[in-house]
């Protein structure tokens, strides 16, 4: 198996206005892949396609080496899933939900499940319907992790959770990943917490994958420069200038550039510009700028 998830020319028409087209995802084995995109970009639809719940109009999907949707059942045995909205049966208790889950997933690990219940502060006799949002999120994550899956597909797993629950969930996730080659596919619009955890990032906008890169490359690719005395026109710069704007306060300009490297400050000196600062963009800013340039292109 080359990749944990691989799609090829995937196409699906979700509605009249919205179509997923030409989607070519490649999630490497053992990676933590952050699937970013604004709301409505098609993240959840993509996940439902990957899980075999929707049938694509064209293209192929391979998850853990299985063809989806033809071999969906075999694939699901090794896949843990946490959906955006709670999907567990509300009248069962946490313990009953664990028993139900364990009966269907042969790789279920009871000792891991017990550990997670303790770690998350859940109780087996609590009814799922009565759990708070944070507790529900933790319960779903506990079930998915105790399955000992080869792939975890998480759809906005921390959205709406309080900070403590969020930390608990991410900690448990990272600890699980440390254990072996499980791959994790997290879709989220909460960019901040993903940037420490993910080593790959794919950006979806309006049904199209506009970028798919290792996390470091993505973050380092874009920088902001604070430049004083900048000439109006640049002759053949060694980097790509994506945007120039005033900083709103002084006479300095803020440039958004791609492909910046430190020695290039000499170029700026040579054109009489004063390089005041090189600002690294965090993942969120990089993501916003990427979307902005992709949409105006």
């Amino acid at each position: 198996m080359d990749h944990a998830i691989q799609t090829n020319a995937l196409r699906y028409r979700a509605s009249k206005e919205f179509e997923i087209r030409d989607l070519a995802l490649k999630v490497p084995v053992g990676s933590v892949y952050g699937f970013l995109g604004p709301n409505g970009s098609g993240k959840t639809t993509t996940i439902r396609l990957l899980l075999g719940q929707l049938r694509p109009a064209a293209g192929s999907i391979s998850v853990l080496g299985y063809d989806v949707p033809d071999q969906t059942t075999q694939m699901l045995a090794h896949t843990g899933y946490v959906p955006e909205r709670p999907h567990l049966y509300p009248s069962l208790t946490v313990g009953e939900a664990m028993q139900l889950h364990a009966a269907f997933f042969k790789s279920w690990d009871w000792s891991r499940a017990e550990e997670l219940v303790t770690q998350f502060g859940l109780r087996r006799d609590q009814r799922i319907g009565r759990l708070s949002k944070g507790e529900t999120g933790k319960a779903m994550m506990m079930l998915a992790l105790a399955q000992a899956p080869s792939l975890l597909i998480l759809d906005e797993p921390t959205d709406g959770l309080d900070p403590v629950a969020r930390r608990d969930v991410l900690s448990a996730l990272v600890e699980y990943v440390s254990g072996g080659d499980a791959a994790v596919f997290i879709s989220s619009h909460l960019v901040h917490e993903l940037e420490r955890v993910c080593d790959w990032v794919g950006v979806l906008d309006k049904g199209q994958l506009i970028s798919e890169l290792p996390m470091e490359t993505f973050k380092n690719g874009l920088k902001r420069l604070r430049v004083g005395s900048a000439p109006a026109h640049l002759d053949d710069p060694p980097f790509a200038v994506l945007a120039r704007e005033g900083d709103g306060v002084s006479a300095h300009e803020l440039w958004l550039v791609r492909g910046w490297q430190d020695p290039m400050h000499q170029y700026l000196a040579s054109i009489g510009a004063d390089l005041r600062e090189v600002i690294d963009l965090d993942l969120e800013e990089g993501f916003v700028e990427l979307l902005r340039t992709a949409r105006t292109a």
């Binding site: 930390r167 900690s171 990272v174 990943v177 420490r196 963009l281």
Partner: protein, 124 residues
């Protein structure tokens, strides 16, 4: 020790983690034979990708600060005094670098900075 890791900083996360361990060794907080937390535990605690922790430990191993023992964990090596001093100096210079970058951003001259440092540490 690992509070406030900054994902926005130009310094990659693994470097920040390794730097803090180096400083702790230089200050004597970690001594020879002390065990660093397991990759799994530290990654979970910091909520960073485990590969990042592995990279941090490896870079420390390359610099001779730690030894990664298969199956047992990662342990602090004995560090010679002059090495410790070199680490302290390196940490101090890093601090000064950060200050100078900030000063440049604010457009402060070198003399202004030096004067301010002298005043602050009590030598006018």
């Amino acid at each position: 020790m690992f509070e406030q890791l900054d994902s926005r900083s130009p310094t990659p996360l693994y470097d920040q983690i390794a730097a803090r361990i180096r400083v702790a060794v230089a200050a004597g907080d970690l001594t020879e034979g002390d065990a660093l937390p397991s990759v799994r535990r530290l990654a979970g605690q910091l909520r960073v990708n485990p590969a990042t922790v592995v990279q941090a430990y490896r870079s420390l191993e390359t610099d001779g600060f730690v030894e990664m023992k298969q199956g047992a964990g990662t342990f602090i090596n004995s560090v010679a005094d002059d090495r410790r001093d070199a680490e302290r100096e390196s940490a101090a210079r890093h601090l000064v670098q950060q200050m100078l970058v900030e000063a440049k951003r604010l457009g402060l001259s070198r003399d202004t900075i030096v004067g301010a440092v002298k005043r602050e540490i009590g030598e006018a």
